[in-house]
């Protein structure tokens, strides 16, 4: 199939179906409404289930149930709705259930605005729910990458029995770009067996239980140690990033998602002015590609972190730089999107 033009939200929904997702539970909120809308139309065509739940909380718990039975399940929302899902996400992490959650971030805090933002970085990477848990967080910067990461998200979720979050923003959801949906089929990993799933007693010697309650502290500590070991493994195996013009870069931009593509324009403009700029774009923000930034901190004069928030990923960049070079910040928030010109001005300020 040739490339087709699709909105980010619709393309993610179709990619999820391609990946074998047959259960979607959601509740409407701008700017991700095209996902439930698309799923409502498509799921009946593929003998799948679409439920518009009575709330985000109900939707995430429906995900918990269906995923616990071994199905490939997805929900999606935007910032305020994702906040509502946090209890469920913590339970899902505790029960080690695989699922995919899309967050098309909008301006916050509170009801905020409906325009694009990246201010849920802390919530996604540090855990908005309680307890020692992690989610794999993928950050697409184009519609094509969004569909590739959607397929990857289901595979990673099954492999590690974890929640994988696709962390986009209003722009990734709304933008329309050419996308090759057939190409993503080749990226799919072989299906993973789920002997832990609650599929009835027919195929099991004993009962399978999906639960996150471990009332004995020593037992729960063992669970936490096992989860931690798994998270360390994910850190080693999953962290990913892209580099642009890094060979001789003296000022290194750090940005993810939509902001990273705006930074690409800014890097080209800065190069045209004779400034040796480069870009590191994390494709996963948990696990964070620390190694790439450690190397950059050795090589560059400074790092400029650009985000659509008041400065959140900069914490991870500073952890990686560990004082080896100055790390500065430029950001817009509330739904405002930085222009390449503004970023070039921030670069010029940083190299002065």
């Amino acid at each position: 199939m040739a490339k087709v033009l699709m909105k980010g939200n619709e393309a993610i929904a179709e990619a999820a179906i391609t990946a074998g997702c047959r259960h979607y539970f959601g509740y409407p909120i701008t700017p991700q409404n095209e996902i439930p809308e698309y799923m409502a139309r498509r799921m009946p065509q593929v003998n799948g289930t679409f439920v518009q739940a009575e709330s985000e909380i109900a939707a995430i718990n429906m995900v918990y149930g269906a995923a616990g039975a071994g199905a490939r399940v997805m929900t999606s929302s935007s910032s305020p709705g994702i906040s509502l899902k946090q209890e469920g996400l913590s339970y899902i992490a505790g029960a080690e259930i695989p699922c995919v959650v899309v967050n098309m971030v909008r301006g916050g805090p509170g009801l905020g605005s409906i325009q694009p933002a990246q201010s849920d970085y802390y919530q996604a990477t540090r855990g908005g729910g309680h307890g020692d848990y992690r989610m794999i967080v993928l950050t697409p910067a184009s519609v094509q990458e969004a569909v590739e990461m959607t397929v990857q998200a289901f595979d990673l979720a099954d492999k590690y029995r974890m929640t994988v979050m696709l962390l986009g923003d209003g722009m990734i959801g709304q933008i329309m770009e050419p996308v090759d949906l057939d190409a993503v089929k080749t990226l799919m990993a072989p299906a993973v067996e789920k002997p832990w799933a609650t599929t009835g007693m027919k195929n099991h010697p004993g009962r399978n239980v999906v639960n996150s309650l471990y009332i004995q502290p020593d037992v729960l500590e063992k669970v936490n140690e096992r989860l931690e070991a798994k998270y360390r493994e994910v850190e080693r195996e999953v962290a990913a990033h892209e580099e642009m013009m890094m060979e001789d870069a003296q000022i290194v931009l750090a940005a993810f998602g939509t902001t990273a593509r705006i930074c690409k324009s800014a890097v080209r403009m800065a190069r045209a002015k004779g400034i040796k700029a480069g870009l590191i774009r994390p494709k996963t923000v948990w696990p964070f590609p620390y190694a790439a930034f450690e190397k950059a901190a050795e090589q560059a004069q400074s790092i400029l972190c650009v985000e659509m928030n008041m400065g959140q990923m900069i914490d991870d960049v500073r952890i990686a730089a560990a004082g080896r070079c100055p790390v500065s910040f430029y950001g817009r928030s509330g739904g405002m999107v930085p222009t390449p010109e503004e970023i070039v001005a921030a670069i010029e300020k940083a190299v002065k």
Binding site: Q115, I175, M176, K264, P340
Partner: protein, 180 residues
């Protein structure tokens, strides 16, 4: 080659479709394209706009703030974008609805009588295609035949019978457009 385009007007004038068709045609011609609508809390009769980028290179920022091609379908859009057009850029004004009071001498301005031409071809709803025909012919951002092919795909079989009148509207739009 990179064209950065803004299409703006009232909701219902087909401004998102103009952008969509440029985007689709550009893709079919082998370019990279991106289309981004404004998605504020809009209402019927309110303003609608979209950013379109057509490039033979990777597209960085998909948001257009300084277009080299700017299409305005109503007065508020002209007021908003007149000074945003890049020097040397091309501004297309829907002269059926807009009576400009000020022109810039560092850009090329074109007046497109969309409603008059649409009426002449016998279908008022082709007004946005009149504009698209003018833009394609004058800027070459996409070929007219690519835009028609994109429209054919958008219409599907059910509305295929509307293609000839739209094609006529596009051709006549290119012909009737006046450079200021």
């Amino acid at each position: 080659m990179e064209h950065r385009i803004i299409v703006a007007g009232f909701g219902g004038q087909g401004v998102l479709l103009i952008g969509n068709l440029i985007c689709h045609a550009g893709m079919e011609e082998g370019n990279n394209v991106a289309w981004l609508p404004s998605y504020g809390p809009e209402m019927r009769g309110g303003t609608a706009s979209c950013s379109v980028t057509v490039s033979d290179d990777e597209i960085g920022s998909p948001i257009v703030t300084q277009p080299d091609i700017c299409i305005v379908m109503n007065q508020p859009s002209l007021d908003k974008y007149l000074d945003a057009v890049q020097p040397g850029g091309k501004l297309f004004i829907n002269s059926s609805l807009i009576k400009p009071t000020r022109y810039r001498d560092d850009i090329e301005t074109y007046l497109v009588p969309t409603s008059e031409v649409a009426q002449e071809v016998g279908n008022l709803r082709t007004a946005n295609m009149v504009m698209l025909g003018a833009v394609a012919a004058i800027t070459g951002v996409v070929k007219t035949e690519s835009a028609v092919a994109a429209l054919r795909e958008a219409f599907g079989e059910r509305r295929a019978h509307l293609i000839p009148v739209n094609e006529k509207a596009m051709a006549l739009g290119a012909e009737r457009t006046e450079k200021v």
